[in-house]
Amino acid sequence: MQGQPIRATVIYDDVATEVSSITDNGSLWMTTSDLARTTRFELKANGVCRDSLCFPLPGTSSDEFVRTFEDATWFNLIAFAQHLSQPVAFEPLRATWCFGQRSDEREQIASLEAPDFTLPDATGVQRSLSDFRGKKVLLVTWASW
């Protein structure tokens, strides 16, 4: 497989992970084990899956997504993002990629179901919006600037 081996920083779901990658012509290849570590997505027979979520890959261009190199299976995360209309921001000087919301995530709010989230309170206890199901919730954001 052609390309430049690099140590990349990949920000996925707001979590930054260092990963050994190969990049070339706008691609970002990582082993499938690093794919799972970075995104929690796994390559399966029916597509690229996480929990009950599965995205089939187009069969005609599978080489664009998956390749075998040095006894490992490699996955192109940029091609996958393009396939899912997922925006990607890139900083070449720091070899850092930030993956945004996929189209299926962006469109969730149109269902009017309030997007769930989990964040810490001031004592570090994690709280989720869904913890308040059964009660009315006034969700207010503020900042200290």
Partner: protein
């Protein structure tokens, strides 16, 4: 937590509600929010029944933005009492029409902003500024992007502006999108 914690710990009376720390602006991203304070009403089934709007609960900044807290608080109390029968609850159609909907530019802006925040935290100030600027370019409506970037930098040196100058550029246009409350102008419906 370092910046926001003091506001929570020293609040009198102490909050009886959950106050959460959102370092990465996750809620703004999920709900397409562009300013603070922004409020959303969510019913017992987890459905949005009144989307993003300015949510001031006192009048300490009314002299600047001209929004009185009383109409918002009255609407809120009405909803708490009457639930879905409250006239302040939006229909699904009206909610969809009013709320900020997905937009590819805004989604890329959020990714640029996330990258900028990461780079800044990692100590790469110069690289972060380019991505903060790109986020602002892609989503010029977001005051959150402007204000966060200005705070993490020298706004005049790195962005050639300041929060005050950006507000002045509005030249009389409202700083917040008008609320849909009795007696207030509303242009979104």
């Amino acid at each position: 937590m370092q910046d926001a914690g003091i506001w929570i710990q020293q609040a009198e009376p102490q909050p009886t509600y959950a106050v959460l720390i959102d370092e990465q602006h996750l809620v703004s991203k999920l709900y397409n929010m562009v300013n603070v304070p922004t409020g959303v009403w969510i019913d017992e089934q987890g459905r949005i029944v009144r989307p993003n709007e300015a949510a001031y609960v006192d009048n300490r900044y009314t002299h600047i933005h001209r929004l009185e807290a009383a109409p918002y608080l009255a609407a809120l109390r009405d909803w708490v009492e009457k639930g879905d029968r409250s006239s302040y609850v939006f229909s699904e159609e009206r909610t969809r029409k009013t709320m900020a909907m997905p937009n590819p530019d805004w989604a890329l802006a959020a990714a640029e902003f996330g990258l900028a925040e990461h780079l800044h935290k990692a100590g790469y100030l110069a690289e972060s500024i380019a991505h903060f600027k790109e986020a602002q370019r892609l989503n010029p409506e977001s005051w959150n992007y402007k204000r966060q970037a200005y705070l993490l930098s020298d706004a005049k040196r790195d962005y050639g502006t300041s929060f005050g100058k950006e507000v002045a550029k509005l030249a009389g246009k409202p700083y917040y999108a008008p609320r849909d409350l009795p007696g207030e102008a509303f242009t979104g419906d």
